[in-house]
C-alpha cells in the first residue's frame, strides 16, 4: 500500500494537469470558431472572383487549349513543388503524423518543399528533403501574411524551379475527423474546373445571380489582360482558404485530444482517490488494532 502522502501528491499533480488540458480545450474551441468565421468572411472575395471569371468566360473561350498562360502549360514534371500546411505546436493528436505519412507515401520522386508551421519544417529538414522556404503564419492567418509566401511559390513555378504546385494539408471533414489531403493547384487543367472549385467553396451563398444589366460588358484594358491576371488570384485565394481550413482542422484535433486528456485525468483522479481512501481506512484500522492490542496487554 502506497504512502498516504505520496498518493495525495499524485492526486494534486494530476488535477493540475487536468486544469491545463481543460483550459487548452476551451482555448482551441474558441480559436476554431474564429478560424471558421475567417473562412466565411473570405467567401465574398472568392465569389466575386468566380463571377469575374464567369464574365470573362462569356467573352472568351475558357478551354485551356486556347489560353496561352504559364499556369495552363503542361510541363514534364521533374520537380514537384509541395506546400505543407502544418501546426506550430504539438498536442493535437495524430494530425501532423498522418499528414507527414501521407507525404512520405505519395511524394516519391524529386520534390521541393515550402512549409508553414514548425512541425513541417522539422519533418522536412530531418528527413533530408529539399526545403526551399519556411514561413510562419500567426493565429490570425490574415491574407497579407501570406503574400510573401504566395509570391515565392508562384515565382518558383513561373521560372521553372518547380513544375507543379501542390498543397498537403489536413482537411476538415468534421470535428472528429481530419483527413490529410494533397491537392494539386498548378498547372491548371481546366478553367471551368477552377470555376466549379470556387463555386463549391462558396456553396452556401446564393448562386451567381443572373445579370440585371444586359448591355455588353466592356473590358479595360482588354478581356485577355483581365483573364491573364485572374488565375494568379485564384491560386492565392485558394491557398488562403485552405490554410484557414487547415487551421480549423488543427484546433478541432487539439480540442478533441485535450478533451480526451481531461477525461483521462478525471478517471485517474477517481482511481487515486479510491486508493487514497483505502489506504486511509487501512491506517485507521491498523491504529485501532494497535490501541486495542495494547489495552488488552495491560
Amino acid at each position: 500500500m502506497a504512502n498516504l502522502r505520496d498518493i495525495r501528491r499524485r492526486i494534486k499533480s494530476v488535477k493540475n494537469t487536468r486544469q491545463i488540458t481543460r483550459a487548452m480545450q476551451l482555448v482551441s474551441s474558441s480559436k476554431m470558431k474564429r478560424a471558421q468565421d475567417a473562412a466565411v468572411a473570405g467567401r465574398p472575395y472568392a465569389l466575386l472572383l468566380a463571377d469575374l471569371l464567369d464574365t470573362v468566360g462569356e467573352k472568351l473561350d475558357l478551354s485551356s487549349a486556347s489560353i496561352s498562360h504559364p499556369f495552363f502549360e503542361k510541363r514534364e514534371v521533374k520537380t514537384r513543388g509541395i506546400l505543407i500546411l502544418s501546426t506550430d505546436k504539438g498536442l493535437c493528436g495524430a494530425l501532423n503524423t498522418n499528414l507527414f505519412r501521407k507525404v512520405v507515401e505519395e511524394v516519391k520522386g524529386d520534390a521541393k518543399f515550402v512549409t508553414v508551421g514548425r512541425k513541417a519544417t522539422q519533418f522536412i529538414s530531418r528527413s533530408q528533403r529539399t526545403l526551399i522556404a519556411d514561413f510562419t503564419v500567426s493565429d490570425k492567418a490574415s491574407f497579407s501574411e501570406l503574400r510573401p509566401m504566395l509570391k515565392l511559390l508562384i515565382d518558383a513555378y513561373k521560372n521553372g524551379e518547380v513544375d507543379t504546385i501542390e498543397i498537403a494539408y489536413p482537411s476538415f471533414v468534421n470535428v472528429l475527423v481530419q483527413e490529410p489531403v494533397i491537392q494539386s493547384l498548378l498547372p491548371i487543367v481546366d478553367l471551368r474546373e477552377v470555376l466549379d472549385q470556387l463555386k463549391k467553396r462558396v456553396a452556401d451563398l446564393p448562386s451567381l445571380e443572373a445579370r440585371s444589366d444586359t448591355r455588353e460588358m466592356v473590358f479595360e484594358p482588354s478581356a485577355e489582360a483581365v483573364l491573364d491576371a485572374l488565375p494568379e488570384l485564384y491560386v492565392k485565394v485558394i491557398i488562403h482558404q485552405l490554410l484557414l481550413e487547415s487551421r480549423a482542422a488543427e484546433y478541432c484535433a487539439r480540442m478533441v485530444a485535450m478533451k480526451a486528456a481531461t477525461d483521462n485525468a478525471s478517471t485517474l483522479v477517481d482511481d487515486l482517490t479510491l486508493d487514497y481512501n483505502k489506504a486511509r481506512q487501512a491506517a485507521i484500522t491498523q491504529e485501532i488494532l494497535e490501541i486495542a492490542a495494547s489495552a488488552a496487554a495491560n
Partner: protein, 136 residues
C-alpha cells in the same frame, strides 16, 4: 446613387453609397457615375475616391479588379484601408523601418521572398501616405 463594395480575401471591407466613385485604373483615373456601362477593369495600387453629398473620402487600395454592373461597383483587391484609419506617424515609421530593411536586404542579398514582402509594404504605405496627405 451607386453602391460601392470593396472586398479583400479577409473580409468585405466596405459597402457604401456614393454619387461618384473614381477608380485608379491602369490607364489613369476613371470616374464612375450612375448608369455607367457594364465594365471590368484592372486597377492599380493607389487611392480610390468616393464622392458623396457630404464630401470626398479617400480609400487606399492595392492592385486588383473592379467590376461595374448595374449601379454596383465591386472592387476586388488584396488590401484596402480607409484613410481615416491610418495613423500617419505609424505609417511613416513603418515605412522607414521597411526601407531600412530593404536597403540592408539589397546589400546583403537576402532571399527574394523577404524583399518582396518589404517592397509590397513600402508600395502600400506610400499609397496610404499620399491619400492621407491629400486630404489635409
Amino acid at each position: 446613387m451607386i453602391t460601392l463594395e470593396i472586398i479583400t480575401p479577409d473580409e468585405k471591407v466596405l459597402s457604401t453609397e456614393a454619387t461618384q466613385v473614381v477608380l485608379p485604373t491602369e490607364s489613369g483615373e476613371a470616374g464612375i457615375l450612375t448608369g455607367h456601362i457594364p465594365m471590368v477593369t484592372k486597377i492599380v495600387a493607389g487611392e480610390l475616391k468616393v464622392i458623396k453629398d457630404g464630401g470626398t473620402e479617400f480609400i487606399a487600395v492595392d492592385h486588383g479588379f473592379a467590376k461595374v454592373l448595374g449601379n454596383t461597383i465591386s472592387v476586388l483587391t488584396e488590401a484596402a484601408i480607409d484613410v481615416a484609419e491610418i495613423d500617419l506617424s505609424e505609417v511613416e515609421s513603418a515605412q522607414a523601418r521597411a526601407e531600412e530593411a530593404l536597403r540592408k536586404a539589397e546589400a546583403e542579398g537576402t532571399d527574394p521572398a523577404e524583399v518582396e514582402r518589404l517592397e509590397t509594404s513600402v508600395r502600400y504605405l506610400i499609397a496610404q501616405k499620399l491619400a492621407k496627405g491629400r486630404r489635409r
